[in-house]
Symmetry: C2
Subunit: 188 residues, 2 copies
């Protein structure tokens, strides 16, 4: 989500994250991002529609990770277990880029319109996961429900992880949240 | 959600729904809504920030219904059963205003930005339901998970109900969706 490859795109992303963190998202202009990266505004717009998009540039990779994890789960895996595998894969990716993920999360949390955009992106991921489950032969409403419940587990575990940097790691919070989902669905 | 009280607010809402359905949301101006209602634009803006808000004016009532249903569930009810009660209450309200609900849903489905707005509103309802559960003594992550899973059940049942006007009623779809949630969470 926030792993910037070398090259112009990566330099722009890196520069934008630094500036958003230093000055706040609102205060940063595209011209400043380009300048920090040693590139032109024109180059910026070759990669990103606007400064907001820099924050969501990794969303496609995040979605691909979910979809390929679900697709790659053993045939014998129950739908919720296929989705659980995807949640752990995402947790591993986040753990490997923890600083960037926390920084991104702080920027988004501070702006209602960025929070809305994040919500919309996550709902797109849920729809893609439901499609991946359907391709495994899961019928509706089970496919949609598993995807939505799985993403809810992820959102809730992620929020706990962000709230407490010294707390349990994300994978453990996901395990707890999945256990809790089983319990609440069973009426406990 | 789409029950317009008598008076200026109700007449404006009624006029807006008629015009959106006749001509499409994009094509309708506030001036036209006010004219159809026999009122001035100035009066329109006393009740609504813009024409989009007419579609979401019922969201507060919808949220209140959820929150009061959860709060009013018997002390002995499991969290998911308290939320299920709220889903059935919403289903009953929707059934009583089926034409308006379907019309509103068609308008929203046709516009990505309205769909995003709806998503954000539903996430606000989920947060309010989680708060209502916490006031019943439910701890986190169970409170958030139950609320999110409950709203997912509602969204999925609602989508089926909208897709097939001659199909099962909304309450029955909610029952099926709740059963399915239990099954998928249990790894079936």
């Amino acid at each position: 989500m926030v792993r910037w490859e070398p090259g112009a795109r990566g330099r722009l992303g890196q520069a934008a994250f630094e500036l958003f963190t230093e000055r706040g998202f609102e205060q940063v202009t595209v011209a400043e991002i380009a300048e920090r990266a040693g590139l032109t505004e024109r180059t910026f717009f070759r990669y990103f529609a606007d400064k907001r998009e820099v924050l969501f540039a990794g969303a496609e990779g995040f979605q691909d990770l979910f979809v390929s994890s679900v697709a790659g789960a053993p045939d014998s895996a129950a739908p919720i277990d296929a989705v659980a595998g995807a949640l752990y894969a995402a947790a591993a990716m986040f753990a490997a880029h923890e600083d960037g993920v926390r920084r991104r999360s702080a920027i988004i949390a501070a702006h209602p319109d960025l929070r809305e955009r994040e919500l919309v992106k996550l709902s797109t991921v849920a729809a893609a996961v439901a499609d991946a489950l359907r391709r495994r032969g899961v019928t509706d409403p089970a496919a949609s429900l598993t995807a939505e419940a799985g993403l809810a587990v992820f959102r809730i575990a992620f929020a706990s992880w962000i709230a407490d940097p010294d707390g349990p790691d994300l994978a453990q919070l996901i395990t707890e949240s999945l256990d809790e989902l089983r319990a609440v669905a069973a009426g406990k």
